[in-house]
């Protein structure tokens, strides 16, 4: 039955409730998204006007060696972080989960603490630990690899070490997710499995692991997106060097826009990153939804 007044009033209230978010969204997300697309089709500097150049920036991108290097490095970084961090987090979560009493929160705190540190603290600490001359880890590197290595200046070492620092920094988050996942598995299931004659190993592979799989999928995909957005650590640890072996897309966006003053070209690179992350996110969304509907 139509009750226009009631409906109007309700809609106005709803509008007042959603307005703050919606307006902010339009201003700082929707509009910039539109702008960045537009910018990528011009040769504008960072601040100021440019002229319309159509797809020129994108064509240049295809020829830009550094762009491809950066793209490749982004991929390399994913390989270096995602699976190792997931496996490590799972192991740590399993280890922490079996602790009892005061030990559990205490040990968990140690593994989680790095996650709440600002990235710059993390990089300062690791830079110091890995300092070529005085770094406390250099004797160890020397013992294992025969010689000291300036890890952030070495093309083979730089990405793996940044990955290592990243894992140290962010792994606590994943540990927590796995821990929550483990705690969500009812103890009765383990008791049922014990009655069914499962050994501890079988209990893990046949009960824990499959039941943890949704969390694992979540961790994997969250990491995928997060690590694609890599910038801070690289900027602070190696600035993309040596000779671009740690150059990544977002750093390139920053270099082009803020150092080289090429707003248009930077926007084109940003668009590529944008599309990549969007595609991955959509895939993730579908994946998790399917997982949930199982």
């Amino acid at each position: 039955m139509a009750r226009p007044n009631k409906t109007l009033r309700r809609n106005l209230i709803a509008l007042s409730l959603v307005a703050p978010f919606t307006l902010t969204f339009l201003l700082v997300f929707a509009w910039p998204t539109f702008k960045v697309i537009q910018l990528s089709l011009t040769d504008a500097p960072l601040i100021g006007d440019g002229t319309w150049v159509g797809l020129q920036n994108y064509r240049e991108l295809l020829d830009d060696r550094i762009f491809w290097v950066a793209l490749k490095n982004n991929g390399y970084f994913l390989v270096l972080t995602i699976v190792p961090t997931t496996v490590l987090a799972l192991l740590i979560a399993l280890a922490v989960n079996r602790l009892r009493g005061w030990m559990q929160p205490f040990i968990l705190a140690i593994f989680f603490l790095p996650y709440i540190l600002p990235v710059s603290v993390v990089t300062l600490v690791w830079q110091w630990m890995l300092d070529f001359q005085f770094g406390v880890l250099q004797p160890m590197i020397e013992a294992i690899f025969g010689k000291r290595t300036a890890v952030f200046r070495d093309p083979t070492w730089v990405m793996p070490v940044i990955a290592l620092v990243t894992i140290w920094w962010t792994n606590g988050f994943n540990v927590l997710l796995f821990l929550a996942g483990l705690r969500n598995i009812p103890t009765e299931l383990y008791e049922a499995a014990a009655l069914d004659g499962a050994t501890p190993r079988q209990r893990f592979w046949r009960v824990t692991w499959p039941l943890l799989w949704p969390v694992t999928a979540l961790v994997l995909t969250l990491q995928l997106i997060l690590q694609l957005k890599l910038f801070d650590q690289v900027y602070l640890l190696s600035q993309g060097g040596p000779f671009n072996t740690s150059q990544v897309l977002l750093l390139l966006v920053y270099n082009e826009a803020f150092q080289q003053n090429n707003g248009g070209y930077a926007s084109a690179i940003a668009m590529v990153l944008f599309v990549i992350i969007l595609v991955v996110s959509v895939m993730q969304f579908q994946l998790l939804r399917i997982g949930r509907h199982r």
Binding site: P186, E188, L189, E191, A192, A193, A194, L195, D196, G197, A198, Q202, R206, V207, P210, L211, W213, R294
Partner: protein, 356 residues
Amino acid sequence: MGVSLKNVKKSFGAVDVIHDVSIEIPKGDFAVFVGPSGCGKSTLLRMIAGLEETSGGRIEIDGKDVTDEEPADRGVAMVFQNYALYPHLTVYDNMAFSLRLAKAKKEEIREKVAEAARILQLTEHLAKRPAKLSGGQRQRVAIGRAIVRQPSVFLFDEPLSNLDAELRVQMRLELARLHRQIGATMIYVTHDQVEAMTLADDIFVLKDGWVQQAGSPLKLYDDPDNRFVGGFIGSPAMNFFAGEVSGGGGGRMEVRTEVGGKVFTAARRGEVSSGQKVTLGIRPEHLKLSEEGLRAKVDMVEQLGGVSYLHVKLEDGSNVVVERHGLREALEGQTVGLAADPDDILVFDQEGRRLR
């Protein structure tokens, strides 16, 4: 042989949860543990399953001491209250799980699961995941998982308490049928005494970690050892009247109620002294309305059609329930008299022990 517990004890830290329980459950028996919440039913069951270590005593299954055995080696299967189905496995795989772990042959697994599914009418659901099943079906899968292992003892921990009333009645019947069909020893925990009454060959009434009485349902109903068992078994619950022995003889005794001062005559076997404080227990169906009986006012009548429950109030405000059949008159507000046959009156002493 079945299951036998000898002086079994359990404490969690400093708290004694099970005090010295000795129980014999014959092979093929359907034994039910009942008792109020927290009395230790689940703990006892889990000790039999091997999921809790014992703090003392011996547990034997089919004559073999299993006190220190692993759960899987005891030949027991357990059905949990919340089913504890593996959510990531299909019904078939849930049931096949233990057989696969035991490295049974494919063919054998298929046969056993199919047989269990047939018994439990799950055949058409074998390919589904538990999340797709109704509560009753899940419960059946949980039972099926137990059946395929052909254990010598089935353990059930309140398996029906998550189901709604109607389904519970239906599953109760199915369980009874199942027991008849496979004939294994079953130990069943519940705090629903209708379940206990209808399912059990033997009921063990627990309270605070002690066994209060063990016996067949009707034995417990008709002949409780103490006031607790009398009050616990039966619904609506037994009515109690405090009183004082005022006389007797010839296999009878007379008790004057504290409230109303009316004398009830009860059958007596043992000796009681005059003036002793006792409590009379009379079940609602044994209370009769009679002119001369204990005066009470009908507070409310619950008409269920066939049966009616009269809630009557004594002078001191205490509530007594009387069961009547085919009642169609309106009695509310009237004053009635309560009486009972001597043989239907149970007498308990001040500690709650039955005087026979």
